[in-house]
Symmetry: C2
Subunit: 187 residues, 2 copies
């Protein structure tokens, strides 16, 4: 198979598309982020990378806290909006109708409409150039009651998440398997 | 909307599901990773988190190089397999039929069948507990010729990638919009 080699770029997909909420004093903001992921399992550690020019950068840096809010596909337009305007100029909660609600471990708000809200406290910041990486411990994970099944487990159909791929937002499609499925049926 | 608070966990999705190839001396291996993401845009910097018990950990740590190979949905079974067996016991290339081919910038091989291959050199390692984070510069991005359109741009339909969500592998579904679409039509 012939390969075509291109110059370095941020080509990795699908990546999450999340709303990061933060608060400093009485000022809260929300920023759309795709440069995020899981770094460690025990203890659970995640990161978000934020360009220092973004208004949220100062809020996260000075408060040392943030919440990663995972949106459903029906919020894709509001999430896109929160990535292209600045909290310096616009109250994005007011502009989008997204609702801040109190978190359990941090001062940054949860976004009510997002079915999953991950409360995080920064443990380390790494400056890499265009972005600062805020490495954080997960302190709590909140779910909207409506996305849990009768046993209290999150239901992927109700969560209806989406990902970010090469500038496109894409809903989830067909289930290809579950972790370990290659061991359960003949190859 | 009532929220249910749970203990900390690695709940962030969808995340990528990739094959990380590495080489030390004449020993090559391939490991499935979901704890990966983009950390910086300029210069392009990514990471993979690897548990020190994995055979690939030593190969990446001592060589200081790896390749992130993005699979298509039709490879999901082989990718799952590469995450549940160890390169200490099994030659995963031979077991899966995946083909190592020479990279342009690193000694670690590209996987021919994966349509995107990202060549990486480690710049920093962060020990977080269960996993070590290998932060790396992207040196080159290779595409299989068959996934590029006539203008040389990657075609998402031909790439046919998938993501990892709550223990499930999920193909991509409906296109919800492109970056900035909230500004182009009335809300």
């Amino acid at each position: 198979m012939r390969k075509v080699t291109k110059t370095p770029s941020t080509t990795l997909f699908p990546v999450p598309n999340v709303l990061v909420s933060s608060q400093l004093g009485d000022k809260a903001n929300v920023l759309t982020i795709a440069w995020t992921g899981i770094m460690n399992s025990v203890p659970p550690i995640v990161y978000v990378s934020i360009n220092p020019s973004r208004f949220s950068h100062k809020l996260v840096q000075e408060s040392g806290e943030y919440v990663i809010n995972i949106p459903s596909a029906d919020l894709a337009r509001a999430v896109d909006y929160c990535g292209v305007v600045s909290g310096r100029d616009i109250d994005k909660f007011q502009a989008t109708g997204l609702t801040p609600v109190a978190a359990t471990q941090v001062k940054a708000p949860l976004i009510a409409e997002c079915p999953v809200n991950i409360e995080c406290r920064v443990r380390q910041t790494i400056e890499l150039g265009s972005h600062d990486v805020f490495v954080a411990d997960v302190l709590a994970v909140n779910y909207s009651e409506t996305v849990l099944d009768t046993a209290g487990r999150p239901d992927l159909a109700k969560l209806n998440p989406y990902g970010y791929c090469l500038n496109e937002y894409r809903a989830l499609g067909e289930k290809l398997g579950t972790f370990g499925f290659s061991q359960k049926q003949p190859k």
